[in-house]
């Protein structure tokens, strides 16, 4: 911030290494400086500071230790338990071997790195246990069709296995600086996990927040945490839980069908002074955001967990060029000379991983910019609204997790 001088000719007076004295001019400068008023006082101060100063060598390793308490780059956690939640979902309870887990804000996720089917990759999972539970992180995982990693975790991970993950991260949480004390949470399927964390924290810690939870599922049996949510909502006046069923059993009295503006109005009443949070599969964002907007909810009052348009439907996205089909193949050339073909309908990050190129990734939904790579030549498609820094766009950087090849590419990582 402070503008300074062009001082190529330094070092100057009090350069304590004699080899630093480059020329006669420096010696002359030293002589001048010695005549400046208060010179002796400053020199005395330097001497005193050195005498009683700080030995930085004893602080070796300190920065890393402090950082690791909050933001470790990587953690190796042990699966202490595998808890069946529904017929299609289980919770992996992760503990740390040294007993310490970094704190997180309810709603944040960790990114699990693993190798499955011969591919090194990563997936983000929201922590479903509350932050006040400092002994473990619960990751609740639901089986999904073709869900390579989720299904791998459900089928192959057992008690006492180890998982590698990032420190907690993500921006989907209640921010007391500008969110309302009244929260409306809209979840679909496995999108309940961040809300489970938030709701338990509110209940356990007596936080002064009100929650209305609308939780969409096909059937009640699929609703993860249904019994626990019911119990919490019966006990705490500030937490209300409404399951919303797509295919309800005969005579079901609760909410059914889609989470429409009308349904939200019925459950929530006046939407002003409330902050809305949405988490679930792509369909829930596509459907609920317009419904909320139609109710007059401001965009800044709608907070969404990061999500990217699904690859299956990518060619329907606005801006996708008509002449490219999702099965079209293109050639990729990496800066190390490696070449391989990629499919237009598959995110670049996935194609890179399939070819053994590990690009660090976290959110895998275009938001966090971890998986940024430089496209040296060729074109990719990134969905509208992907938050790429302006100068990154200018110099060809893309977020590879949401970039789809439209031409042959040359990539620099």
């Amino acid at each position: 911030m402070n503008p300074l001088l062009n001082r190529e000719h330094l070092p100057l007076a009090q350069s304590y290494v004699s080899s630093n004295k480059i020329n006669k001019g420096d010696t002359m400068k030293e002589a001048c400086i010695k005549e400046f008023e208060n010179y002796n006082d400053v020199v005395r101060e330097i001497e005193i500071c050195r005498k009683y100063g700080r030995d930085y060598t004893i602080e070796k390793g300190m920065v890393e230790k402090f950082i690791n308490r909050l933001h470790p780059a990587q953690m190796k956690l042990k699966v202490a338990d595998v808890i069946a939640e529904t017929s299609s979902a289980s919770t992996l309870r992760l503990v740390s071997e040294n007993g310490y887990l970094p704190p997180f804000q309810a709603g944040q996720y960790v990114s699990i790195s693993l190798e499955a089917g011969g591919i090194r990759t990563s997936r983000p999972y929201s922590i479903s246990s509350p932050p006040n539970q400092t002994g473990y992180y619960d990751l609740t995982i639901k089986r999904v069709e073709d869900g390579l990693i989720s299904n791998h975790l459900l089928d192959h991970v057992k008690r006492n296995d180890f998982l590698t993950c990032s420190g907690p991260t993500g921006n989907f949480y209640h921010n007391p600086l500008f969110h309302s004390r009244s929260m409306v949470c809209i979840a679909g399927g496995s999108g309940i996990t961040p809300f489970m964390s938030m709701i338990q924290e509110i209940a356990d810690c007596g936080l002064n927040l009100n929650v209305i939870l609308l939780y969409g599922n096909r059937t009640l049996e699929e609703a993860i945490f249904h019994n626990r949510l019911n119990a919490i909502s019966n006990r705490f006046n500030n937490i209300r839980y409404y399951p919303v069923l797509e295919t309800p059993p005969k005579g079901y009295k609760g909410y059914t069908g889609f989470i429409t503006a009308q349904l939200i109005k019925n459950a929530v009443g006046d939407p002003t002074d409330k902050t809305f949070y949405i988490c679930g599969p792509q369909g829930i964002y596509d459907f609920c955001i317009p419904e909320l907007t139609q109710m007059g909810v401001l965009k800044k009052k709608i907070r969404t967990e990061v999500y990217a348009p699904s690859s299956e439907l990518i060619t329907d996205q606005p801006g996708w060029p008509k002449n490219v089909n999702s099965d079209d193949q293109f050639k990729v050339k990496m800066n190390n000379g490696k070449t391989f073909s990629v499919r237009a309908g598959e995110p670049l990050l996935k194609s890179l991983e399939k070819n053994g190129i590990v690009v660090p990734s976290q959110c895998r939904a275009g938001q966090c910019s971890y998986c940024r790579v430089k496209i040296v030549s060729g074109k990719v498609f990134q969905p509208e609204g992907t938050p790429v820094r302006r100068s990154d766009s200018r110099f060809g950087y893309v977020h590879s997790c949401v970039s789809y090849p439209l031409e042959n590419l040359e990539i620099l990582i």
Partner: protein, 496 residues
């Protein structure tokens, strides 16, 4: 033998300019950066529809195309000017002292003087004389360092003022405490209250910003970092991101190369470290190689504060909130005696002096149409944050952020209602991203004993090891960018 002519550790301002200049001169250069993006502090990040500027408030040293300042020349030599657009700020700063003063200084000398004179008519003459002093001091300072054969008689102003602090000089010239507070308010950006701040720095700030104008970069400081990296790559440079260095290898007093965090050994006879000086010597070198004179020099120096910042995206234009200056200081009162130094040391931000920048005032394209962004800053030592139990971190972060918003509400009562996005950075956040001891954002502190006339050794006794960045000498964009080309210049001269 060597894999590269030069390895540069860290892609901050100093690392980037060093690497670019070396690659431009035909050397084979590798940058190793532990983060996934170049820039260090010179970066931006996205939240919602906003791209937030992290660190740049007022870029110094640019001047105009007709009368280029040192920074413009430097960037020109690195061929990045054509990739960048600069925006000149319309004000030097606005100072707001609740209930007492609200004054905006323009960026020209005459304008600054008349603005001050009409607010403080009784001190009319002293105001002119003060700026005469600022100018003669700065001019003597520049020529002193350029002069190859100086004698003390040529520099009467330096002789008298070089070792005076800002408060001493303000007290000598003025009586009205409000006027002294207005002229001393750059302290809240620098982190040393006027009783501690060398007058030199105050003089250079005024002279530099008035003569060469405070500027900003279109697209934020990431544009600058990306542009320099882009040139570097085009000159055949290589850069590895997500690749930290854990060791600098030394053999018989000379650099041999580095070992990355992944364990790769890469050989090179020259290493430019853009890591903090403390990390470079304490963390990256084996203890037996740490040069004694470096430890001796660092021993007497202290690390500068870190910061507590709110990056706020607002859903309105600055004018709607009455924000008409790009750079703003909100001071709790007119005290310049050092009372507010305690505010830097505490965890609490209540009643701290705060600064905020609203880039959109100078550049309406900075944020999306109909919005603006605010970077609200107070400088803070990390120490109380390091003592905080991690489980209390989030709570304290929001409590302190809340107090910052209350400070800002004194000047913009309605700001909270307009918040669309907000991200809070604490000293621990800076420590996380910069990796500096105690999250320091300015390298070593710049007390009288540390600055200008008492430079630390730039060259270590280890052959081939050079430093660039804010720990070398002075900090800020212009000095750190310059530090890189200085290091590169020395290497090029050695290779000749």
């Amino acid at each position: 033998m060597s894999d590269y002519d030069v390895i540069v550790i860290g892609a901050g301002n100093g690392g980037l300019t060093a690497a670019a200049m070396l690659a431009q001169n035909g050397l084979k250069v590798l940058i190793l950066e532990r983060h996934n993006i170049p820039g260090g502090s010179a970066t931006t990040f996205c939240r919602g529809r906003f791209e937030f500027e992290v660190a740049l408030h007022q870029l110094s040293g640019l001047g105009t195309a007709e009368q280029p300042g040192p920074l413009r020349s430097l960037l020109g030599k690195l061929k990045v000017l054509e990739d960048l657009s600069f925006v000149e700020m319309t004000d030097l700063y606005r100072v707001f002292i609740p209930g007492k003063l609200d004054l905006t200084l323009p960026t020209d000398r005459a304008g600054v003087i008349t603005t001050l004179q009409s607010r403080f008519p009784r001190e009319k003459e002293a105001i002119s004389k003060f700026f005469d002093l600022i100018y003669s001091y700065a001019i003597e300072l520049y020529s002193f360092f350029r002069e190859s054969n100086p004698s003390s008689g040529q520099f009467p102003t330096l002789k008298r003022y070089a070792f005076k602090n800002a408060k001493e000089v303000l007290d000598q010239f003025f009586t009205d405490p409000l006027l002294k507070a207005v002229l001393g308010s750059y302290w809240s950006f620098i982190g040393l209250t006027p009783d501690r701040l060398p007058f030199s720095y105050l003089a250079i700030c005024f002279f530099g910003y008035i003569e060469m104008k405070p500027c900003h970069i279109k697209g934020g400081s990431q544009s600058l970092s990306n542009a320099i990296l882009n040139r570097f790559l085009s000159w055949g440079g290589e850069a590895r991101f997500n690749c930290g260095v854990k060791k600098i290898m030394v053999e018989k007093g000379s650099v041999k190369g580095v070992v990355t965090e992944q364990g790769d050994e890469i050989k090179s006879k020259f290493v430019v470290s853009n890591a903090s000086k403390i990390s470079t010597f304490v963390e990256l070198l084996d203890p037996e190689y740490i040069p004694h004179e470096m430890l001796f020099d660092m021993r007497g120096r202290t690390t500068s504060p870190s910061g507590f910042c709110l990056y706020m995206g607002l859903d309105c234009e600055p004018g709607e909130l009455g924000i008409n200056a790009a750079t703003n200081f909100i001071l709790p009162d007119e005290d310049i005696s050092g009372k507010h130094f305690n505010g830097i040391k505490t965890l609490d931000t209540k009643n701290n002096a705060v600064a905020f920048s609203c880039y959109d005032v100078a550049d309406p394209e900075f944020s999306p149409p109909g919005t603006c962004q605010i970077s609200l800053v107070t400088l803070k030592y990390a120490e109380p944050w390091l003592r905080l139990p991690p489980t209390q971190y989030a709570r304290e972060k929001y409590r302190c952020a809340e107090a910052m918003i209350l400070q800002m509400e004194k000047i913009c009562p309605n700001v909270r209602a307009h918040i669309e996005e907000v991200e809070v950075a604490t000293p621990l956040t800076f420590m996380h991203y910069l990796g500096t001891p105690e999250g320091s954002v300015y390298g070593f502190e710049q007390y009288m004993k540390d600055t200008l006339f008492f430079q630390a050794p730039r060259i270590s006794s280890i052959n081939g090891l050079f430093m660039a960045g804010g720990w070398v000498a002075d900090c800020g964009f212009e000095p750190t960018l310059k530090s890189g080309t200085s290091a590169a210049g020395t290497i090029l001269r050695q290779l000749k």
